[in-house]
């Protein structure tokens, strides 16, 4: 019997059709095209429906929001997509997003038993399929309004963390208002991650779903400017801060303010949020030169380098100071970038920028690196090779070397303790040093992932519910002194 089951395992995921690289670099349409229902059922059938056991970790434990993966896959095996979605929706407020951008290879799929010897079950793509199916068939099930608790909650920031808190608390009957600085909600999902990885129509549909559950979203509200967190506390019973890590880091090298040198945030915001890829139909301009150099090696850098090609750059180069294996981006993104022709200039770091007489960048001076002993993060430390400097001609430089927490809320809420990295200090439940104020997502963890921000949101929502309904006690100040260290 066991033998029989093993032999039935299909070793590889059913292939995901994709736009071919030569075509897709000319457009902003989504790269993976999606699979049909039959294929998804076959993919689901690759799952062994493992039983929980203390001896091994399963898919489910790899998911930061603890979706009951075997259960929803079982429904897919039987063709009941609606029931599968119901199981997912219990834990997941943004399934169409996570099914696309979750680093599932390190999470759910990383634990998949099938994946020990073969390719893991394509959990991400099944989730993606179901969410798309639900949206397209308009099976967004009716959202029953729960009985009101009479409590009011303010959420600052409409990214994955804030939207999750909002959705969860609304389901529990609280009156939730989200204050979002930008004109569209979704945080990095709308201003950062490009259209070809995450179509904005999908984000909008997920946001609309959350609105349907009774959440009010006030766009164009910058908390810290139009009102402070302290002001909000006078009108709301609790406040959640999910303002993200939107402050761009710079190299601070000579010449960085030359024209043609942009932060990844400026570049991606112009292109995604303001739709500069449709200029002049949309009014916001963007310009890339013939050769674009992107500094950094994470997801953000891949997004920049790939976007540059789509905007017409002849050459798009990633300059990264470590080697290929240390690239922090998801393998899938690196693979996609390479397929599209992005060139990787590895083990090299910028030294200075050189401009022309009109103040435009024309070259970047870089130096070769080698890898030394592992540093605190466990990655081998890059060391300069003296005298190995070289010059790279370029007309555009995109600085994608990380983001820091948004300082506005901490700056305008003095009683909110922060860490030395500028993140808001929280306890394990998402409480901050200020009674009634909770925080989560990138603002408390530093730049991380969509699903971790959502996980934070889930946890905070639970604690907030308890705080509002049962137990308004608050931890001692020392807890946060420690958290701030």
């Amino acid at each position: 019997m066991a033998e029989e089951k093993k032999s039935r395992i299909v070793p590889k995921k059913y292939p995901m059709p994709e736009q071919n690289p030569e075509e897709r670099v000319k457009n902003f349409d989504e790269v993976p095209i999606g699979q049909d229902a039959e294929t998804i059922i076959l993919e689901a059938k690759r799952c062994l429906q493992c039983k929980e056991s203390p001896k091994r970790k399963l898919c489910k434990e790899g998911c930061p929001v603890e979706i009951d993966i075997p259960a929803f896959i079982k429904q897919v095996q039987e063709g009941d997509f609606a029931e599968a979605m119901r199981i997912i929706r219990k834990k997941q407020n943004l399934p169409a997003v996570c099914g696309r951008v979750c680093p599932y290879e390190n999470q759910c799929e990383g634990n998949c038993v099938v994946g020990k010897k073969n390719e893991p079950v394509g959990i991400g793509r099944i989730e993606r399929f179901l969410a798309d199916w639900e949206r397209n068939e308009q099976k967004h099930g009716k959202v029953e309004p729960p009985t009101s608790t009479g409590k009011k909650v303010a959420v600052v920031g409409g990214g994955p963390a804030g939207l999750t808190v909002a959705g969860d608390l609304a389901k529990l009957g609280h009156k939730v208002t989200v204050f979002e600085a930008l004109q569209y909600s979704g945080g990095v999902l709308v201003y950062g991650i490009p259209e070809f990885r995450l179509p904005k129509a999908i984000v909008k549909a997920e946001v609309d779903y959350i609105k349907k559950s009774g959440v009010e979203i006030k766009n164009d509200y910058v908390i810290g400017k139009v009102e402070t967190v302290d002001d909000l506390l006078e009108k709301y019973d609790a406040v959640f801060v999910g303002t993200g890590a939107g402050l761009p880091n710079w190299t601070n090298l000579e010449g960085e303010n030359l024209n043609g040198i942009l932060s990844a945030n400026e570049f991606l915001t112009r292109v995604n949020l303001m739709k500069a890829f449709n200029f002049p139909d949309y009014d916001t301009p963007i310009r890339v030169g013939k050769r674009v150099v992107t500094l950094g090696g994470g997801n953000v850098a891949m997004d920049c380098a790939r976007t540059a090609l789509r905007l017409g750059a002849e050459e798009s180069i990633i300059l990264y100071r470590r080697s290929d294996v240390e690239l922090p981006a998801r393998r899938e993104e690196i693979h996609h970038a390479k397929e599209e022709g992005v060139r990787f200039e590895l083990l090299a770091a910028p030294v200075r920028y050189i401009g022309d007489e009109d103040g435009n960048v024309k070259q970047i001076e870089a130096v070769r690196m080698k890898l030394g002993e592992p540093d605190a993060s466990g990655r081998r430390r890059p060391i300069k090779i003296e005298g190995s400097n070289f010059i790279l001609d370029c007309q555009t430089v995109l600085v994608a070397i990380g983001q820091s927490p948004n300082p506005l809320v901490p700056m305008t809420t003095p009683s909110l303790k922060t860490t030395k990295w500028g993140t808001i200090a929280v306890d394990a439940e998402g409480r901050t040093s200020k009674k009634g104020v909770f925080a989560g997502g990138d603002i408390s963890t530093g730049a991380a992932t969509v699903i971790l921000a959502m996980g934070d949101g889930k946890r905070a929502a639970k604690t907030m519910h308890k705080y509002l309904m049962e137990d308004p006690s608050w931890p001692d100040a020392e807890v946060f002194e420690k958290a701030a260290c």
Binding site: Q183, D220, P248, N265, E266
Partner: protein, 279 residues
Amino acid sequence: MCANVYDIVKAEKLTPDVTRLEIAAPHIAKKAMAGQFVMLTVDEHGERIPLTMADFSPENGTITIAALEIGKTTKKLGTLKAGDSLFSLVGPLGLPTELKNHGTVVCVGGGIGLALMYPVVRALKQAGNQMISIIGAKTKDLLIYEDEIEDVSDELHVCTDDGSKGHHGFVSDVLQKLIDDKRDINVVYAVGPIIMMKVIANLTKPYNIHTVVSLNPIMVDGTGMCGSCRVIIDGETKFGCVDGPEFDGHKVDFENLTARNRRYLAEEEVSLRNFKEAG
């Protein structure tokens, strides 16, 4: 008046190229301070542009902006009428003008800068300062906010480039004269074209008169997220939208600002041409 948020309550032309709009935005009006700006988007396809609040009324729940129509977005603004609505409006942004009693403050403004200067003069006057205003424009028909500024100033000097009103020449000539006359000046505040602010800053530097300028770098979000607005102050990079827009004029790298503001010239021309062709 019961307008929806972002509804235009009043629209008028101050000169053929300057539009003034009063917009319903009670939450912004309540918090607005002199020197602060808003980011607005006219329609869904529009660009987010920064405009200083030329006035704000917590009582009426409105803010007022005055825009010089130089490109597509400001020209679009110029076509709006009372009853129209904006797509998006965010504010109040930027740090407000430092309001303390310095003693005597000379406010120097030119062109559209006069609209931006008005609330600053008013607020500094309220803060107890002796206010000397020097206002300038190409010709007398382009002088805006003259009466308003006069009302809140202790002394007003008018200049026109063509001599059609007041002093025939530049605002800097008048400031130089005040300095030569040994007038007691504690602070100079300048707002207008970059070249004007630079001239004023260079003028006051040898006399060591603290000089504040209001910079206008190209912005995208206006909330500190992108660095499009970075300016060099005393060799250090600052973000115009959150660290400014007002800075110590003696420390500003005006060459860099001028170069950076020309970044999208080619695209801006395309936009403007298309807009004109579309009528």
